[in-house]
């Protein structure tokens, strides 16, 4: 099936496209690291980008910080301009709030971790060091007085900015709503700090007497701006979410189009090319129908690759039926009741069932569809394969045709099951296979 490969890829596409973050090997682009960061993840992100140990980058920043606070300015601008991403250096990182882990399907996932105490300590330490450092530098009395309020404002800003980062990260990691109150608290704290710092600066300027009226004026201006800009902001958010919806829809449409193109159109072309051989046309159409059904009705998340070995009875039966159908061009109807994991015995039964399907398709295919029925009832697994062909008598089969005897009856009996061949009253043959499951595996 040349088009099968295309189809399988499509099945995997939407997930990958929707979450570019999960791309296992993203192009090297500068991101701030959300893993194991101390402040904004700038140093870690840079280190990852440049391929240096984090500690070097951090030392450089500290060094630059000593040079008239250049480091702080640099760090702040990086924080401002560089988007947050997943990446940075791997390994030897302290346990962080969120980290990537490789899940069984080979994808990297963001996994929530407990917040780290060391991170908070580091933050505090940095503030203290900065205070001490600035205190030691001679800035002159005038400037020195503003120091404390400025630091307060800085801390508030840092708090709110990190908050924004967290919000973005939470979107990927879906860190639960429990954190909502915490984040509100943090935002409130940040605003409080900034307000306190700003107020302190006012007080220091000696305009404390007018503080009340200034605050009132500021409030009035704020309310005015909100009233003026509010409607626009609301509109903008609505437009934004609408646009996002449209984008999702467009993406879905593109996905469907890609599928139709890759498999359906391909099949139609093949059918036109094989128009003179009805068997081939039937086979192609049938295979396409099966594909399309699987694609349409398959529950999301179970889009397994065709190459995978089936691990349940239902999958194994469907797979065998599809293969026999493709090979022999005879439609096979499959009805399955219940399901169970495959074990060694059921595996043998599946092989026998497949053999029976091949026989039915070969010798009884002219009479119409082959009907396959599989049922799991407690520990018993029953499979029947029936065709509407001329039918045959087991005793009249020449001894050299070992197909049925060996591969169906013999195989079943070796594994402790039973196989029965019989003629259906009104024509056709039915093979009944019965097997007990080895053990309770569920």
């Amino acid at each position: 099936m040349p088009w099968a490969a295309g189809r399988v890829n499509i099945g995997g596409m939407p997930e990958a496209a929707a979450l570019p973050v999960e791309d296992p090997r993203p192009p090297r682009k500068l991101y701030r690291s959300s893993d194991g960061r101390w402040l904004g993840g700038v140093a870690r992100g840079l280190a990852g980008h440049l391929g240096l140990p984090v500690i070097w980058v951090r030392l450089v920043f500290v060094g630059l910080f000593l040079a008239d606070g250049l480091g702080a300015l640099l760090y702040a601008s990086f924080w401002f301009f560089v988007p947050l991403g997943v990446g940075g250096v791997a390994g030897q990182r302290p346990p962080s709030l969120v980290s990537t882990e490789t899940s069984p399907d080979g994808r990297r996932r963001l996994v929530a971790r407990k917040p780290d105490k060391g991170q908070i300590v580091a933050l505090l330490l940095m503030v203290v060091v900065a205070l001490v450092f600035v205190g030691n530098v001679n800035l002159g009395d005038g400037a020195k007085a503003y120091l404390f309020p400025t630091v307060l404002v800085g801390a508030g800003v840092a708090l709110v900015w990190r908050q924004a980062d967290n919000a973005r990260r939470a979107r990927w990691a879906e860190v639960g709503g429990r954190r909502r109150t915490l984040s509100l608290l943090r935002a409130g704290g940040g605003v409080l700090l900034v307000t306190a710092g700003a107020t302190a600066i006012f007080v220091l300027q000696g305009s404390a007497a007018h503080l009340g009226s200034v605050l009132q004026a500021a409030l009035a201006v704020l309310v005015g701006i909100t009233l003026l800009a509010g409607p626009y902001l609301v509109r903008m958010t609505q437009d934004l979410s609408e646009e996002r919806l449209m984008r999702i829809r467009a993406q879905e449409r593109a996905e469907v189009a890609a599928h139709v193109h890759d498999s359906v159109l391909h099949t139609l072309t093949l059918i036109q090319r094989n128009a003179e051989s009805p068997n081939e046309v039937r086979r192609l159409a049938r295979a396409q129908e099966r594909d399309l059904r699987a694609w349409l009705y398959k529950p999301e998340g179970t889009g397994k690759d065709e190459a995978d070995e089936p691990d349940t009875l239902a999958e194994a039966v469907r797979r065998s039926a599809a293969e026999v159908e493709d090979k022999h061009g005879v439609p096979i109807e499959v009805v399955i009741v219940g399901d169970c994991p495959l074990d060694e015995r059921i595996g043998a039964q599946m092989q026998a069932a497949r053999e029976a399907m091949v026989n039915a398709a070969k010798y009884g295919g002219e009479g119409g569809a082959v009907q396959v029925y599989a049922e799991v009832e407690g520990k018993k697994v029953f499979v029947s394969v029936r065709d509407r062909g001329p039918g045959f008598d087991l005793d009249s089969i020449p001894a050299d045709r070992m197909g049925v005897r060996e591969s169906i009856i013999g195989r079943m009996e070796r594994h402790g099951g039973t196989a029965r061949l019989r003629a259906v009253p009104d024509g056709g043959t039915e093979v009944e296979l019965e097997m007990e499951r080895a053990e309770k595996t569920s």
Binding site: R286, R293, A294, Y297, K298, P299, A314, P331, E333, V335, I336, V337, G338, G367, G368, A369, Q371, Y373, E375, E377, S384, R386, R388, V424, P425, D426, G427, E430
Partner: protein, 239 residues
């Protein structure tokens, strides 16, 4: 393709003459091409006994046409603009229970999804066949529905077995929530592709008895208010 297996009397000769039987049918399907195809295949009244008295492409049209023509059997597509086949069934409910001249529905769809199948059956359809059915089998199914019997495809039988088996919860209503041993046997044979006649031979009962078992199962399927049925159907969107 599922042809012979969908049928109830596959080997009964039907070609040539209608054998005196006659049924008035309305086709409801939103694909004109499909309606034309079905019409061409079963609509030759003198041969098949089927007279197509009306067609409809959506829910509103369907309700109007069915009310106006009062057919005996409606071939109903599951997916229709305006609410789907279930909506048609809901709005035609008074016609279905008409004692004098009931309108009976046979669902006909490409979909094999369990929720679609169980949905229309619980909506009141007397049977469910897929669009891959052959003309002869379809004609037979139509007459079977006209007589008030149920038409089960192998797949529908499989769904029903699965739905009634997939719970350990004690039944609320012993009569409706459980299949009898015999009914299970009959369903199992349908699922294995046996026609009613073959089932009768296999179980040493009459075709009429097979029919009454299937009708009983249909009744249980429609009336049982075990919510497992619906839940099962939605949970299992597999083909």
């Amino acid at each position: 393709m599922s042809d012979a297996t969908e049928t109830n009397e596959p080997l009964e000769p039907t070609g040539g003459s209608a054998g005196g039987r006659h049924v008035r049918v309305v086709l409801v399907d939103d694909h004109r091409m499909f309606r034309t195809g079905v019409q061409a295949e079963i609509g030759r009244t003198e041969e098949t006994g089927v007279e197509v008295v009306g067609e409809a492409a959506d829910v509103d049209q369907a309700v109007t046409v069915i009310t106006a023509t009062r057919p005996e059997v409606v071939l109903l597509d599951v997916h229709l603009p305006g609410g789907g086949g279930v909506e048609v069934l809901r709005r035609c409910a008074p016609l279905m229970s008409d004692a004098e001249q009931p309108v009976r529905f046979l669902a006909l769809s490409v979909s094999d999804a369990a929720e679609d199948v169980i949905g229309v059956i619980r909506g009141g359809a007397r049977g469910y066949v897929t669009k891959t059915i052959t003309g002869t089998d379809l004609v037979n199914s139509v007459f079977r529905v006209q007589e008030g019997d149920a038409v089960f495809s192998p797949r529908l039988a499989g769904f029903v077995l699965d739905a009634f088996a997939s719970t350990d919860a004690p039944p609320v209503d012993e009569d409706l929530d459980r299949l009898t041993q015999r009914e299970r046997e009959v369903l199992r044979l349908i699922a294995r592709g046996y026609a009613y006649k073959e089932i009768a031979k296999q179980l040493f009962i009459s075709v009429k008895t097979v029919e009454s078992h299937v009708s009983a199962v249909l009744r249980k399927l429609q009336l049982s208010n075990r919510h497992e049925l619906t839940r099962w159907a939605t949970a299992r969107r597999l083909v």
